[in-house]
């Protein structure tokens, strides 16, 4: 069967009434948590992980994917109306979107971001459908050594290349490794890092880590800066319909954003920050209305980055489904959902779990349609959600954090770990450590270890296996360049600038 045949089969799976209902629940919930500051898709999916014990894999992944896409749509609403980016990927949307809202064009900003998200999300999902089988053919040639090297590359890109500091990113990653190693070693059955506590033999659940870092940490952080200035909701003025000139200024940025976002998302680097910033820079350069950037708000600066954001979110699913390689916190938590079903994402997933994968991809198309309806005509509903006062919102988040954590095994030890991780999350937020590498490290670390040990066993304990295989060597070289390259580049720049034009304080 070719891709179109599989896709048709996928639509047959996704169009069953129950799966449509899951898709609707997921997209609605996703938009809601995207709109609400302090809640994100990673946290929400982590809290809902126990559902994997209740329903079929298709249902839970359609639900999770709806949340994942919905959060992207909802996050832009918050960025535009509140100037508080709901997600890191919508920081750029806030730049122009909030200015547009302040100058009375909030409706058009919301419309271009929702329609742009729809266009780019649909193109990105098509990209997943057609690229995934290609990557699979390539990935079938991978042995354990290549897998390990690919994971090393992903570790470097998600922690060291993206973000403000490679040392802090890698620190987060290594802390994730330590958390991931707690529990019984799968290959030898030996307990590791349990400090003699029986409660730790099963390891630390990803739910506790995600909820601790994202919910408890975020609540402590918001409490610590209660007086740091409040953002006002800009009342929604102007019609939601875009004028002809707004349409003509939007469609090219949508397509360009999708073209930038999808490939970057699909690379084993992931992350939505780079494509959104890149798209913003390009639109600013190409725009015929440069004077609107940074003043009244330019529609291109909303349309492009929003499209890039959604296309890259779709792109992240390619390495995730074909290689089992998550490159964002949300994807890592989805990977643990696969593990909870005993399914190993990898090159064989597309054929052995055709129902699941193609049903999921088809449901993403449906989710996009539902989301554009949810986010345009029903926008008033989401604006009302923004008015939930902070005290009750964060207190409520902590109640759900308790349900998610205490529900795992009714053990107060879990709550103690949760709160310790919450304090860690607060410190990380305050001192600019990225949190996503912790989640990626704890999920992907044990998988990398398995591949490493497998490769070493096959090679009879010969370390050279990782650089004797050309593909593995290439991947490791890329990882090394990713780690060292930016520093050398900065050093050269620094040397060059130390001329007459050196500006004091120009850091």
């Amino acid at each position: 069967m070719d891709t179109l045949g599989y896709l048709a089969h996928g639509f047959a799976v996704a169009f069953t009434p129950t799966n449509l209902l899951w898709c609707l629940v997921g997209t609605t919930l996703g938009t809601a948590i995207g709109v609400l500051p302090g809640l994100g898709p990673a946290l929400t999916i982590a809290l809902l992980l126990p559902i994997t014990y209740q329903v079929a894999p298709e249902a839970s992944f359609i639900l999770f994917a709806g949340i994942y896409y919905g959060a992207m749509f909802g996050g832009s609403t918050t960025s535009i109306l509140l100037n508080t980016p709901g997600e890191s990927a919508t920081i750029v949307t806030a730049l122009e979107g909030n200015r547009m809202a302040r100058s009375g064009r909030g409706g058009a900003a919301l419309a271009t971001s929702a329609i742009g998200s729809f266009v780019a999300g649909t193109l990105g999902t098509l990209g997943v459908a057609f690229l995934a089988p290609v990557v699979v053919k390539f990935a079938l040639a991978f042995g354990p050594a290549e897998y390990f090297s690919l994971m090393v590359l992903a570790f470097i890109t998600v922690s060291a290349v993206l973000g403000s500091s490679s040392v802090r990113g890698l620190t987060s990653l290594f802390v994730g490794f330590v958390i991931g190693m707690i529990g019984v070693d799968l290959q030898t059955g030996q307990p590791r890092f349990t400090f003699g506590m029986a409660e730790l033999l099963d390891g630390v659940d990803v739910i506790i880590v995600a909820v601790g870092l994202f919910a408890v940490g975020e609540t402590l952080y918001m409490a610590s800066r209660r007086y740091a200035g409040k953002d006002e909701i800009v009342p929604l003025k102007g019609s939601l319909y875009m004028t002809a000139s707004e349409w003509s200024r939007s469609w090219r940025p949508w397509l360009r954003g999708a073209a930038i976002g999808f490939p970057i998302g699909a690379m084993p680097a992931g992350g939505a920050e780079i494509p959104t910033f890149l798209s913003y820079a390009i639109e600013k350069k190409l725009s015929k209305h440069k004077e609107e950037f940074g003043t009244v708000g330019a529609i291109e600066g909303v349309a492009g980055p929003e499209a890039a954001n959604n296309a890259s979110a779709a792109g992240v699913l390619v390495p995730m489904l074909t290689l089992g390689l998550p490159t964002s916190a949300t994807a890592a938590i989805m990977l643990s959902a696969f593990q909870s079903y005993g399914i190993n994402p990898g090159p064989l997933l597309l054929t052995t779990q055709a129902n699941l994968v193609w049903g999921l991809i088809a449901s993403l198309f449906i989710a996009n349609v539902i989301l554009v309806i949810l986010n345009l005509p029903l926008i008033g509903l989401w604006v009302r959600l923004l008015k939930i006062p902070a005290p009750q919102l964060y207190a409520g988040i902590l109640v759900f954090a308790t349900v998610g954590t205490y529900g795992i095994s009714q053990s107060p030890i879990d709550l103690v770990i949760l709160y310790l991780l919450g304090v860690a999350g607060f410190l990380m937020r305050r001192f600019d450590f990225p949190t996503a590498p912790v989640i990626i490290g704890m999920i992907l670390g044990p998988l990398a270890e398995t591949q490493f040990r497998r490769a070493m066993t096959i090679a009879n304990g010969d370390w050279t296996v990782f650089y004797r295989h050309p593909l593995s060597l290439t991947l490791l070289t890329l990882a090394f360049i990713g780690l060292v390259g930016p520093h050398i580049w900065a050093w050269i720049e620094h040397r060059r600038r130390r001329g007459p034009e050196h500006v004091p304080g120009d850091a």
Partner: protein
């Protein structure tokens, strides 16, 4: 923040950052201690369960030393964070809410513990209507308990409030079914 009041990068030692670096060094030491405690069968000679812990430990040591070095050079806390003094009273109340939840969840059950936490956290965030917050917290905790937890099949135990309501809910469910 205007350009004029931006300070030249200070070369003073940054205490909080130094503590973070040293704390991570202590973590690396704990990793080393626990790695040595992993029993290794002599029959399993290839790559045993200790290799990755050792790599992680080495990585953590190098990274925490780099962080200590950065702290000695003035730290890295973003300017924007430095300008915002932490609201210790609000954080203390939130922490008190969390500790209360931890202490009460076993003796009183999830709902009662959640209400106490809800009120304390709301108070910490500046809400001055404890009674209204308690009612809101009760409604939310019950919704979480009966909606979320039961729908997901998560067992979060039963306490004072749940014991009163569980038979009632079961009766309603039975009536609904028949």
């Amino acid at each position: 923040m205007s350009l004029s009041d931006r300070q030249a990068p200070s070369t003073r030692l940054a205490i909080p950052e130094l503590l973070i670096g040293l704390g991570l060094l202590a973590c690396a030491a704990a990793v080393a201690w626990q790695t040595l405690a992993i029993p290794v069968s002599p029959l399993y000679s290839k790559v045993g369960p200790r290799v990755f812990p050792y790599i992680t430990m080495a990585g953590l040591i190098v990274l925490s030393l780099l962080l200590v070095l950065a702290a000695l050079r003035g730290g890295w806390e973003p300017e924007e964070e430095k300008e915002t003094p932490a609201d210790w009273k609000a954080m203390g109340l939130v922490a008190a809410g969390l500790v209360a939840n931890l202490a009460l969840i076993q003796p009183l059950g999830f709902t009662a513990a959640s209400v106490v936490m809800f009120v304390l956290v709301c108070f910490g965030f500046g809400s001055r209507h404890p009674l209204r917050d308690a009612l809101l917290g009760l409604a939310l905790a019950l919704a979480a308990y009966f909606g979320f937890a039961r729908a997901l099949g998560v067992n979060i135990g039963a306490g004072l409030v749940e014991n009163q309501l569980n038979p009632l809910i079961d009766a309603v469910l039975r009536m609904g079914r028949s």
